[in-house]
């Protein structure tokens, strides 16, 4: 029983990681209607910047944390303007190839600049076990907490602010958005900036757990992708719940049902099964249009 509980909690902790990455994917999807395959590598690179600020620059964790978010935002913004802007009227698959290009570029640059040995990324949370609890540590609780905060911010941003509304409108229907005066190009760039910023938060939380190296996000991105689709790619809350479901399901399947060798394959098959029944994800909204 104790081992089972332990697996559940460990799954929740991993789910927090997937959820934070899924949020970045939801952000970019909501703002641009693309899924950025380079999101993980961009987050990894931002985390390296954070690491360098702390280790090489000697900055305090929170200062470096905030500075990294700002840098990531600017970086994401710049990438949209420089790399993707010229492609905005090109076929979707061309844009996907550009994403793949970005992915390999960031991966290679990180290896080149920072090396491949793993790096410990500090955690801002205390190391002592909380409330004498053996199942979770402060970092895991903190990860979930920050993820929930990001989720609430995202939700509020998209649902309650005019800018959030404008961003969604620009992604849904760029032409109509222009007709109400929304600067669509700017919205896309802002979306990239925000997604990169959220990605950097995810990266910095993840790095403490899995250690920082250029391939850190390769596996995690897939889980984040699956979580986001499972929960509903246009629904931040759903993506977070999706993350927890994937984390727990993966652990329980691996430990008790099918063993570790095939757990990823089986988990993916299950997710696809769910999507066949609920095509917009567990919590996604089906878009109905009268013609």
């Amino acid at each position: 029983m104790e081992a089972f509980l332990h697996q559940i909690f460990s799954g929740l902790a991993a789910g927090g990681i997937y959820a934070s990455v899924a949020l970045a994917l939801v952000m970019i999807y909501t703002a641009t209607h693309h899924i950025n395959f380079a999101q993980g590598e961009m987050a990894m690179f931002a985390t390296f910047i954070g690491w360098a600020l702390i280790e090489w620059g000697g900055l305090n964790f929170w200062v470096a944390f905030l500075l990294t978010i700002v840098i990531a935002f600017c970086g994401g913004f710049a990438i949209e303007r420089i790399v993707l802007r010229p492609l905005h009227d090109k076929p979707v698959l061309s844009i996907i190839i550009a994403f793949i290009g970005l992915l390999v570029i960031f991966n290679a640059l990180a290896g080149w600049i920072f090396g491949f040995t793993i790096k410990a990324f500090p955690s801002p949370f205390p190391t002592s076990p909380p409330f004498g609890n053996r199942f979770l540590n402060w970092h895991e609780i903190g990860t979930v907490g920050i993820t929930v905060v990001v989720l609430l911010l995202l939700f509020a941003f998209f649902r309650l602010t005019p800018l959030g509304l404008a961003m969604r409108a620009a992604a849904f229907n760029p032409e109509s958005a222009r007709l109400v005066g929304i600067r669509v190009g700017l919205m896309l760039a802002l979306g990239w900036g925000l997604a990169a910023a959220i990605g950097s938060v995810a990266g910095m939380l993840v790095a403490h757990v899995v250690y920082l190296d250029p391939n850190m996000m390769a596996g995690i991105l897939l889980y984040g992708f699956a979580s986001a689709l499972l929960g509903g790619i246009d629904n931040p809350g759903g993506a977070v719940v999706g993350g927890f479901i994937v984390g727990v399901a993966e652990n329980v399947l691996g430990a008790y049902v099918i063993g570790t060798e095939l757990k990823l394959s089986v988990a993916l098959v299950l997710i696809i099964g769910v999507l066949l029944v609920k095509p917009a994800g567990l919590f996604g909204r089906r878009i109905v249009t009268r013609v």
């Binding site: 404008a166 229907n173 958005a177 222009r178 005066g181 878009i287 109905v288 249009t289």
Partner: protein, 237 residues
């Protein structure tokens, strides 16, 4: 009366194809002008050209400012609202979100709230469906939504692209009644594009006839209405 819109030698097109071959027309402050023409004459393109949605050459002066070649967003900011062909509904957003988006560029928040009430007053049906996903609205409701969205800009000029298209006659009448109201009460000038010449000439004070990218006739509505050729080819009596 002063000219609100003054267009000279307007050429526009898509890619290699030129659709408009040098249009010259004008619109008076507070007036309603209509552009009539058959399918493919270039009516929609004319409106899109004014809004900067297609490549243009020639002069377009709006309220004393040259706007040819400007970005759509900037033209909108000057007070030009466009009810586009196909209504341009944000189908995934709610009705109210759609309406609110119309006021995106405005900074006078207090006035925006008042305008929202006014728009709902014109179209009480939309108020009933405020929280409904806009894609589920009927065609007529979506047309009302598009007009509401445009009104929320508090525009000087309203461009209307076939508001009667695909709607039942009763709904068309209702929409035109409201448009006339808006024109008289709020002094919003309108440039109306219609295939249904009958109804357009009923509301407009000036009219232009467009044929394959050229203006072939112009004048006050009364003059046009009584023209022999127009009567035969466009009014059907």
């Amino acid at each position: 009366m002063a000219k609100l819109l003054d267009v000279k030698g307007l050429r526009a097109g898509y890619g290699q194809t030129e659709v408009l071959h040098g249009l010259t027309f004008e619109l008076e402050q507070g007036g309603i002008t209509t552009i009539l023409g058959a399918n493919g004459a270039g009516k929609t393109t004319t409106l899109r050209a004014i809004c900067g949605m297609v490549r243009v050459a020639g002069d377009i002066v709006f309220a004393g400012q040259a706007i040819a070649g400007k970005a759509t967003e900037d033209i909108v900011r000057l007070g030009v609202a466009h009810v586009p062909d196909g209504r341009g509904t944000f189908v995934q957003l709610t009705t109210e979100e759609n309406v609110r988006l119309g006021a995106y560029v405005r900074s006078d928040k207090g006035q925006v709230a008042a305008d929202l009430d006014r728009v709902y007053h014109y179209f009480p049906r939309l108020k009933e469906r405020r929280m409904q996903q806009a894609g589920t609205l009927s065609g007529g409701e979506q047309q009302m939504l598009a007009i509401s969205r445009a009104l929320m800009l508090s525009p000087k000029l309203l461009l209307l692209d076939e508001p009667s298209f695909g709607l039942a006659p009763l709904i068309v009448q209702e929409i035109y009644r409201i448009l006339r109201d808006i024109n008289t009460k709020e002094k919003v000038s309108m440039l109306l594009v219609e295939q249904n010449a009958n109804i357009a000439l009923g509301i407009a004070d000036h009219a232009y006839l467009l044929e394959t990218g050229n203006i072939v006739m112009s004048g006050t509505s009364d003059v046009i209405k009584n023209d022999e050729t127009i009567r035969k080819s466009y009014l059907g009596y």
